[in-house]
Amino acid sequence: MNTQNKAADQDRVMIRVKNLTKYFDDNHVLRGINYEIRKGQKIVLVGPSGCGKSTFLRCLDMLEVPTSGEVWLDDVQVNSPKTDINKVRQKMGMVFQHFNLFANLTIMQNITLAPVKLKLMSQEEASEKALKLLRRVNLEDKADAYPHSLSGGQQQRIAIVRSLEMNPEVMLFDEPTSALDPEMVGEVLQVMTELADEGMTMVCVTHEMAFARQVASKVIFIDEGVIKEEAEPEEFFTHPKDPRLRDFLSKVLK
């Protein structure tokens, strides 16, 4: 790949959201979201509770089905009925607030289940890769443990590893540190920061404003079902324009 192509690849739009709306019965949660996420970007979503951050994130990989509009991953329309959503999801990792590790499986089985059952890797390949990833997050000694025996911070790091095992093109995080005891937030954020530094494309809902400042390419403020403001973190936090964002920031930054 020559330098010009590489630059073009770096700038490539990976996720394209067009006029996305979402109703839950009469509750009009998303009212027309348009956004493009480029390869390697780290997008942080903030907004008041109930504004639809989770819904937006979950619409990206169809855990929620958009009411109208389009979601594209590269050249595939994610929310088209013709699309094999399972194929798309293999490329999009999702990390949940409550970890959601498989309670009946060991850590190793948690990590290798999907790639092996989906016939992307042999069990040996999957285990080997899992061990490498576990070593990265310093949890290789937990391979044979069950999730319930781990701390929240450990579980969340495993959950991230489980997603990474699939070699995703993009990682989605929905408040990954909100369910953690304060002393465990750091270890998870560190893994996420490393991931960001390695160039992973990330979309992240979080209340960790310091993390947003440090890592985000863009910060987005969602309110009343639309994107009210989008800016680079410095600009976003020091010169917020939207009055509701100013109000919001004054509350969360205290």
């Binding site: 990989d61 855990l63 009925p81 399972n86 194929k87 798309v88 999801r89 293999q90 999009m92 990792g93 999702m94 949940f96 409550h98 959601n100 590790l101 498989f102 309670a103 009946n104 499986l105 060991t106 289940l113 999907a114 059952k117 989906l118 069950y146 999730p147 319930h148 959950a159 489980r162 997603s163 699939m166």
Partner: protein
């Protein structure tokens, strides 16, 4: 006093009658055992079918069939189901155990389906979402993640269902099978002294069920100790 001993003799000792009770118990256990296995298989399939949904949220035909099956079985007396199986559907069969097992298996399956549904609903929704977010299909996630947890949740109720089943088989006398209850009834008609045979049968049921309950409780405790949640 003498007459009690006499009654006991006539109920259990004369002509080696006690062997009849145990033969009857054998039939009871046989029917309950096969019915339980059938019930688990049918119940699991019926439960999954009943819970199946298309992408548009509508139920496919087989789901309606499963729904109707569960509804009808739970809404009609077991005796009637047994008689329909015996006198109508399988009237040409001479294998009583087979017909009774089938009937009770179909009956139990409907209850098992509901028990397993409860077990599935008790599994955190996040488990399915996590599976799906990795690209596993609904079926795969169900198989490898949700169902194993659901069975574990449902285990106590399933054991309970087996005990219920064991007692319910007491009605197979209606279609002429010689289970424990019918044997006791026959002997009491023969001796004109119902007390001993009936109480004897009750005691045998009770002991068997007590032993099973103790075993099941031990099993449950073991399972909980090795709990990976």
């Amino acid at each position: 006093m003498n007459s009690i001993v006499e009654q006991f003799n006539r109920a259990f000792i004369v002509n080696n009658r006690w062997t009849l009770y145990f033969k009857g118990l054998g039939t009871t256990i046989e029917v309950a055992f096969f019915a339980a296995i059938l019930g688990i298989v049918i119940g699991t399939v019926a439960c999954l079918a009943n819970m199946a949904k298309r992408r548009n949220g509508k139920r496919p035909i087989f789901s309606w069939i499963a729904y109707a099956y569960i509804d009808v079985i739970r809404g009609t007396p077991t005796v009637i189901q047994l008689m329909i199986m015996w006198f109508v559907i399988m009237k040409n069969s001479t294998n009583g155990v087979l017909v009774a097992s089938l009937s009770f298996g179909l009956n139990s399956g409907a209850y098992v389906a509901e028990i397993i549904r409860g077990g599935i609903q008790a599994v955190d929704q996040g488990q399915m979402e996590a599976g799906r977010s990795l690209g596993l299909s609904r079926t795969q996630t169900m198989m490898y993640v949700v169902l194993p947890q659901a069975f574990k949740n449902a285990f106590p109720s399933l054991l309970n269902e087996f005990i219920t089943l064991l007692k319910e088989t007491a009605i197979v006398g209606y279609v002429g099978m010689s289970d424990l209850t019918r044997v006791a009834n026959q002997i009491s008609t023969k001796t004109y002294q119902p007390f001993m045979p009936l109480v004897g049968a009750a005691v045998i049921y009770f002991v068997v069920i007590k032993v099973l309950t103790i075993l099941f409780n031990k099993l449950e405790r073991k399972l909980r100790e090795s709990d990976n949640r």
